[in-house]
């Protein structure tokens, strides 16, 4: 890898990944609603239409089922399709091509055909957009055999994972979060891979493990900083890919710390946090020094009301509380903190 990097926004890192992959591989194309509109997809598609033309940068009618199916079908006949859903809530219209077709395809035809498609969905938290414009539905896709699900939290990973997703021979669900779009970070100029299925340790620590992914890494790192000030050293893991999970990295950390807080921007029931909790208790039970803790958004749809919405996304404080509980800080101290932040 070249040493040449520069600061770049998350959304522009995705843009660069697509541009470079389309430059190097004629079979790559981008299709979906709003690819020529900054209003839909932020800066992720900036300049692509001008560079590659409407034959490879295809804006579409609002037809998620057919358009996603078309991306899958094109992949079946040898293209490398990237299909974007500017709000992943609308991806639900495309469950059939994603799950029935793309995810099952390679297996049900005994390996004779494959589907190198990237299904890209953007999570749009906040903005008082309410239930149907805010959902984080990654767990639904991670449940399905045959789908890989990646969720980058940094500009570096956003570019590297998009490149890996495009290169992959299988359907990859690439989920990003608009709250990360203006985040800046160092990004290499050239094409590089961030391997799918590999997490990364963001902070080293011995007292507990905090694992998270995507935008919730921001909340997690904030919480870890606060905990550090109090003398609690958290090991922070960014999963980067949720399917397949980097079990090795995760379990190694839990083995070391004996405590874990799982942070997820989706719902608790049957979700990513449930999966990780099950995995840890199945494989690391003997090393656990405290109960597994989970911090997620509340089990209700996203509200529009500014007061309720603020509460809905209050995550860092909950992480701190959960961590304190399992590293056995004094109960009163916790209560004081809740009152202070509440």
């Amino acid at each position: 890898m070249s040493s040449k990097t520069r600061k770049m926004q998350y959304s522009l890192a995705i843009n660069e990944a697509i541009r470079q992959m389309m430059d190097t591989d004629d079979s790559v194309f981008l299709i979906g609603q709003g690819v020529k509109s900054p209003w839909y997809v932020g800066k992720t598609c900036l300049g692509l239409l001008e560079r590659f033309g409407p034959e490879r940068i295809i804006d579409t009618p609002v037809s998620e089922n057919a358009i996603t199916g078309a991306a899958v079908g094109a992949a079946i006949v040898g293209m490398k399709s990237v299909v974007i859903h500017p709000r992943m809530d609308f991806m639900l219209y495309a469950f059939d091509p994603i799950i029935n077709e793309a995810a099952n395809w390679h297996y049900m035809f005994g390996g004779r055909s494959s589907v190198p498609v990237v299904i890209w969905g953007i999570i749009n938290r906040g903005g008082e957009q309410a239930a149907q414009h805010s959902q984080a539905l990654h767990a639904l896709f991670a449940h399905i055999p045959g789908l890989k699900v990646v969720m980058p939290s940094t500009p570096y990973d956003a570019k590297g994972l998009m490149i890996s997703a495009i290169k992959d021979n299988n359907p990859v669900v690439y989920i990003d979060d608009r709250w990360l779009y203006s985040k800046e970070g160092e990004v290499p100029e050239e094409i590089y891979d961030v391997p799918i299925g590999k997490g990364i340790v963001r902070e080293e620590g011995d007292d507990l493990t905090i694992v998270s992914v995507s935008y919730m890494m921001e909340e997690t790192l904030k919480a870890a900083e606060e905990l550090c000030r109090e003398g609690t050293r958290a090991e922070v893991i960014d999963l980067r890919t949720i399917k397949p999970l980097d079990e090795e990295l995760l379990l190694k950390s839990v083995k070391k710390t004996g405590r874990i807080v799982i942070v997820d921007g989706g719902w608790k029931a049957f979700g990513l946090s449930a999966e990780i909790a099950a995995l840890v208790s199945e494989k690391m039970f003997e090393f656990l020094k405290a109960p597994i803790k989970r911090v997620t958004i509340p089990g209700c749809p996203a509200p529009s009301s500014p007061v309720l919405e603020k509460k809905y996304y209050e995550i860092a404080t909950k992480i701190i509380c959960a961590a304190r509980e399992i590293v056995k800080k004094g109960k009163e101290e916790i209560e004081a903190l809740i009152e202070g932040d509440g």
Binding site: A66, A70, A74, A75, V77, E101, Y107, G111, S114
Partner: protein, 327 residues
């Protein structure tokens, strides 16, 4: 008559006969429970697959449905692998992972069949989109039944195909029944071909039991697609001689066929193979003994396919979780 070469007529006839005899060979094994995966027989509808696929080149793509044995064979799929797949053998076209409803032969342009009603329409749309991006001059055919006209993705696909002038032929095999429901119970009218018209798509209805008519209209559609004139919608009126699933059931598990006897009889008299045989003999293309020689040859091919299947192994249990992902 002179319009068609003897080769073509022979090809159409033998293909229909291959499909029919192969389909009918499954009846006994299904009744005896030797074949247990759901099998949707194509008997009666052979003229559509044979006629459409004869109008295509090897490089062209087709996508199928739950009832796709005929499409697979007509596009050049290997009969041995078809029979082996239905028996769940490792040598089957999908290695025994798919069964009757998941047939594939990518080298011959049979890109896959799947039973989610209308599910493969958008995949075919994507294949034609790929052709328009690559400018490879291929045509894609999407086969689906009358039942698929109830699914929204058909209309999304028609719209997008027309919008982008994609080289795709939407082929609706209207056999008048979607499982147990007569067409009159699922639509306000029978004019399926008209669904393409609001999108400006050239749309035709044709006798799906007349293989030459099927071939002619398909050839025209293929030419139009290759010229870049956009999609074509073809509705073929046809009838299945067998049940929705299995030999004689409209509802899986029962032994009753809900279709009126007179209607079945009426269509039986229009059996596409019998009709075409009469035509060939009457016009002196083949003598009757030539036709029976074809039958003999195909029967031998079928016997070979069953022998191949019997001698083929099942996948080993250790292979259960292989092929979830491609490496």
């Amino acid at each position: 008559m002179e319009k068609y070469s003897r080769d073509l007529l022979c090809k159409l006839y033998t293909m229909m006969l291959r499909i029919r005899l192969c389909e009918e060979s499954f009846v006994e094994p299904i009744v005896n429970s030797d074949v247990r995966c759901p099998v949707h027989l194509y008997s009666g509808e052979e003229a559509v697959a044979a006629g459409v696929c004869a109008s295509l080149d090897k490089k062209d793509y087709i996508f199928g449905t739950h009832r796709s044995h005929g499409h697979y064979l007509a596009k050049g799929g290997c009969m041995k692998e078809l029979v082996a797949e239905i028996y769940g053998k490792k040598t089957g076209s999908s290695g025994g992972r798919g069964g009757s409803m998941h047939l594939i032969d990518p080298d011959r342009g049979m890109m896959g069949a799947a039973p989610i009603v209308a599910g493969t329409i958008a995949l075919a749309l994507g294949a034609s989109l790929a052709s328009s991006i690559r400018k490879d001059n291929r045509v894609t055919v999407s086969f689906f039944g009358d039942g698929a006209t109830g699914e929204g993705v058909l209309y999304e696909s028609l719209n997008f195909a027309a919008l982008k002038k994609l080289p795709i032929i939407f082929v609706c095999e209207n056999n008048l029944y979607s499982t147990h429901m007569s067409i009159d119970e699922i639509r306000p009218n029978r004019d399926i071909y008209k669904v393409g018209e609001p999108f400006g798509i050239k749309s035709y209805r044709c006798d799906g039991n007349d293989v030459l008519a099927v071939y002619d209209i398909s050839k025209e559609a293929v030419t139009s697609c290759r010229k870049g004139e956009g999609p074509v919608f073809l509705e073929f009126l046809t009838y299945r001689m067998r049940g929705h699933v299995g030999p004689n059931d409209n509802i899986q598990g029962s032994r009753t066929d809900i279709r009126p006897k007179e209607e079945v009889q009426e269509w039986r008299e229009r059996d596409p193979i019998v009709v075409f045989e009469k035509y060939l003999v009457k016009n002196g293309v083949f003598k009757e003994d030539e036709l029976s020689r074809f039958t003999k040859e195909i029967e031998n091919e079928i016997m070979d396919a069953y022998t191949f299947t019997q001698e083929s192994p099942y996948s080993d249990e250790s292979e259960l979780e292989n092929n979830v992902f491609k490496n």
